[in-house]
């Protein structure tokens, strides 16, 4: 999968509620040649992961968003530049004081690709379906936490209600996870929408061969693109072929040899080389939880904050990004990335000397092999991470292992298939772990790090932090939210509950004939405004 977690939850890998704010978005490289978009043609893009199931209402995979975004539209749209929520299928909306009732007024004229209208009944059918256990929604249902039902007021008006405040719902509604699909397509059961999603978007699913490719075909008569789009009406591309190639080398090699027009999620090293050889590289820093390491504060001896602080100071993110990512990813400044609303920088510079001082003070002294111990206990951390790893996180783990060894802390690395890692995490059986997660809302700290739902212990457990995060979720007042979330980030840094390492960044390399390439609000390549000049 592309971005998100690699830890307890692979799918976090996937932007829960994703979106991206403008800040991290670099300007699109300008290329010479025709500037008037041409219609027609096929764009072939190589991406790293097979979605498994195309239906974003069911699948949590970023890969399902990549293909799904062109196929389903949402009630609201998030502007990739600026992050504002603007009308899409809903032309207007209101929220009650407690953030429990959301009233949407739908636009007229929008239809699903099967011809049925996008009306109030369709909205209700979609949300009711997402929370239906039979749908086995793996992520979308979580975005509707506390959902009590949708009322159809008239053909164009619906009220979505929650039993508890859900201030993040509006932004969640802008993602493809809560995108609207044709109710008629639900009849054949969840498995059938995994193969062919029917939405109101500019593209339709023409073909899906698992582990191989997804083919999107342009839909005629599309007239309801969000205002921020570079054009209105039909998409420029006639066809988009999304080919799946899990190897970095294969993706960039295929781009070079002309087998594909674009390569997604290229490695920083490949990006540098491609850039040099005349393949424009588009870059997008993503919002949400930065790629961070966690030490389980519920386990002896790591409940001692001094030890966690020592580990945190011993790890040097600047050296890591320089070595592994040639500074194309930025070192993290907080548990949230700078492109997330309410971000505040909290990082302290790395210092092995300070780490050693903290450990000495706590009574852990170096023993044989340089590993510290106290009362016969070795200072050791077990770290089970997902393999095969993306973004060279396997090498990152080895660097961290070395940096900690230098101050006398042993790290035992246990790469494992994603299923095994999740199984262990979900039982609370972990000492060290790693996560990144896309969502352009600071509430992500509560839903991802703090949640103890499903019997799973939280990734970070701290009373003061819990109060801050609950306060942030219960208000729509911007000032109050900012204060709560700044406090939360400071608390996480002060208690060394998370050790932020780098800001995940999407690198999209294209050949020179690809124009208008860019990212949607979720930080994934969009196809609607893209065209090919040939």
């Amino acid at each position: 999968m592309s971005y998100g977690v690699s830890r307890p939850v692979r799918a976090l890998a996937v932007p829960a509620v994703v979106a991206l704010l403008a800040a991290g978005c670099t300007a699109e490289p300008t290329s010479s040649g025709s500037t008037t978009p041409k219609r027609g043609g096929t764009l072939t893009i190589a991406t790293d992961t097979d979605p498994g199931c195309l239906d974003p209402q069911q699948s949590p995979a970023a890969a399902a968003l990549l293909t799904g975004r062109g196929v389903v539209d949402s009630l609201v749209a998030q502007d990739p530049t600026g992050g504002a929520l603007v009308p899409w299928l809903a032309e207007s909306w209101t929220v009650d004081q407690r953030a429990t009732a959301f009233t949407f007024k739908l636009r007229t004229g929008a239809t699903f690709s099967d011809g049925s209208p996008v009306d109030a009944a369709a909205v209700k059918a979609n949300f009711d379906r997402i929370v239906d256990p039979a749908t086995k929604s793996l992520l979308a249902a979580g975005l509707l936490a506390g959902y009590t039902g949708t009322t159809v007021s008239d053909e164009r008006t619906v009220v979505v209600r929650f039993g508890q405040p859900n201030a993040g719902f509006l932004q969640a509604a802008s993602t493809a996870f809560l995108g609207l699909q044709a109710p008629a397509s639900f009849a054949a059961g969840p498995a059938s929408t995994c193969r062919a999603v029917v939405g109101s978007g500019p593209f339709t699913v023409a073909d899906y061969v698992p582990q191989q490719q997804v083919v999107l075909a342009r839909r005629a008569g599309y007239r309801w693109a969000p205002k921020f789009a570079a054009h209105q009406d039909d998409a420029y591309l006639e066809k988009v072929v999304v080919t799946i190639a899990s190897d970095n080398g294969v993706r960039s090699g295929s781009l070079r040899s002309g087998q594909v027009d674009a390569a997604g999620a290229v490695s920083p090293r490949d990006a540098a080389a491609l850039d040099q050889d005349g393949f424009p590289v588009h870059k997008r820093e993503q919002a949400g939880i930065a790629y961070s390491l966690f030490v389980n504060s519920a386990k002896e001896p790591w409940n001692d904050v001094a030890l966690r602080r020592a580990v945190s100071r011993a790890i040097d993110p600047a050296l890591i990004v320089k070595t592994l990512y040639q500074d194309r990813y930025a070192p993290a400044g907080s548990v949230l990335t700078p492109t997330t609303p309410d971000y505040v920088a909290t990082a302290q510079p790395a210092s092995a000397a300070e780490a050693a001082r903290l450990l000495d003070a706590a009574g852990w002294v170096a023993g044989p092999g340089g590993i510290r111990s106290k009362n016969g206990q070795r200072l050791s951390l077990r770290w089970s991470y997902v393999a095969p790893a993306r973004e060279q996180r396997d090498l990152l783990a080895q660097l961290v292992q070395q940096q900690l060894k230098a101050v006398g802390v042993e790290v035992v690395l246990e790469p494992a298939p994603v299923g095994d890692v999740i199984a262990k995490q979900s039982k609370g059986d972990w000492e060290m772990s790693d996560i990144s997660f896309l969502r352009a809302d600071a509430d992500v700290m509560r839903t991802v790090l703090q949640s103890s739902a499903g019997g799973r212990p939280p990734v970070v457990a701290d009373q003061a932090l819990a109060r801050d995060l609950a306060a942030g979720a219960a208000t729509t007042e911007p000032e109050a939210r900012r204060n709560s979330y700044h406090e939360a980030q400071q608390r996480i840094a002060d208690q060394a509950l998370a050790i932020p390492v780098y800001n995940p960044t999407y690198l999209l390399a294209v050949n020179k004939s690809v124009r208008g390439a860019g990212f949607d609000a979720q930080g994934l390549p969009q196809f609607y405004d893209t065209w090919v000049d040939r």
Partner: protein, 325 residues
């Protein structure tokens, strides 16, 4: 010499086949039991893993519902019997990940896998047999020496190494074949070569040593004495007599080509049974694992049946041996 009358032979063949079919029944049962057993011995709870992939939003109620729906709340023997009963109906259950019927997933992955295995098999046999025959016919000592060493080299090269090298050279450097997907015959070439190389080595090695042994058999001398050319002797007489072990090997190889193509599938990004298994393994998708394992096992049992029958046609001695038993 050991000729029996044709009528006799077909009767014996039929009796042999029946005995062989009967002995395949316990093997089939064993194969599906092993498939079920291994899958359920893998540590980790599939429901927790499924819900885990959904992020931290899942409630226990949902977990219970899911567990019940997947019948994972029932005792293991119950699940086993249900699995067997469903299998008899040709139903392999539904994928935990996508909810699609496993039979559909297997059928879908079997297509590219069969195409790849078939191409590799043909390629391997041609290369291997060609090499062995050429080695037997050539007068050049150098060529002969090379051809007798190459098979072992082909067998010793790790598949992942060959695949990586082929990809580098033919796809990225020379741009002759696409590196991606399985669209079109071009994309099958490199993975097929990867799989065919060790197979060619095996075939050349077995056939070569068989040919060299046959070289001193009486019928070869007789044919030569009657004035047949060397090429004719090798192609007409010796090849047929040394074909039996090659048929056996081809049979057993199909299984490793079908499932063992996982390395080539991973590197070349092809869909197939091997990748289906690895993916299911990583996500603890029990039904898919069970299904693919059972499918592969059953396929192998059927193939070895076919191979046994093929013997009786290739080598009359097999039937006569059965008579004298």
């Amino acid at each position: 010499m050991w000729r029996t009358r044709p009528g006799d032979r077909s009767g014996i063949r039929w009796r042999m086949l029946r005995r062989r079919l009967l002995s395949a029944v316990p093997v089939l049962l064993g194969v599906v039991t092993v498939a079920f057993g291994i899958v359920h011995m893998i540590p980790g709870d599939p429901v927790q893993i499924m819900l885990g992939t959904g992020g931290a939003f899942v409630d226990p109620e949902r977990e219970a519902v899911l567990r019940h729906e997947l019948r994972l709340d029932r005792p293991l023997p119950d699940q086993y019997l249900a699995f067997l009963a469903a299998l008899l109906r040709g139903d392999l259950g539904k994928s935990l990940q996508t909810g699609e019927p496993v039979t559909a997933l297997v059928a879908e992955a079997a297509g590219p896998s069969l195409a790849l295995a078939g191409t590799a098999l043909v390629l391997g046999l041609l290369l291997g047999a060609g090499g062995a025959v050429l080695g037997e016919l050539t007068r050049s000592r150098l060529l002969r020496a090379m051809l007798s060493r190459l098979p072992v080299l082909a067998m010793a090269l790790p598949a992942y190494w060959v695949a990586t090298l082929l990809l580098q050279v033919f796809s990225f450097r020379l741009g002759l074949v696409p590196a991606l997907g399985s669209t079109g015959p071009g994309a099958t070439v490199l993975p097929a070569v990867t799989l065919a190389l060790p197979l060619a080595g095996v075939v050349a090695h077995v056939l070569g040593s068989g040919l060299r042994t046959a070289d001193r058999e009486s019928y070869v001398l007789m044919a030569r004495a009657k004035g047949a050319t060397r090429a004719r002797v090798v192609l007409r007489h010796m090849l047929r007599n040394t074909a039996v072990p090659v048929v056996t090997l081809s049979g057993t190889t199909v299984g490793s080509l079908l499932g063992g193509g996982v390395v080539a599938e991973t590197i070349f990004g092809r869909p197939g049974l091997g990748r289906l298994i690895v993916n299911a393994l990583q996500n603890h998708d029990y039904p898919v694992l069970q299904g693919v394992a059972a499918f592969l096992g059953i396929t192998m049992v059927v193939i070895s049946l076919i191979v046994d029958v093929a013997y009786t046609y290739l080598d009359p001695r097999v039937v006569s041996a059965a008579v004298w038993k």
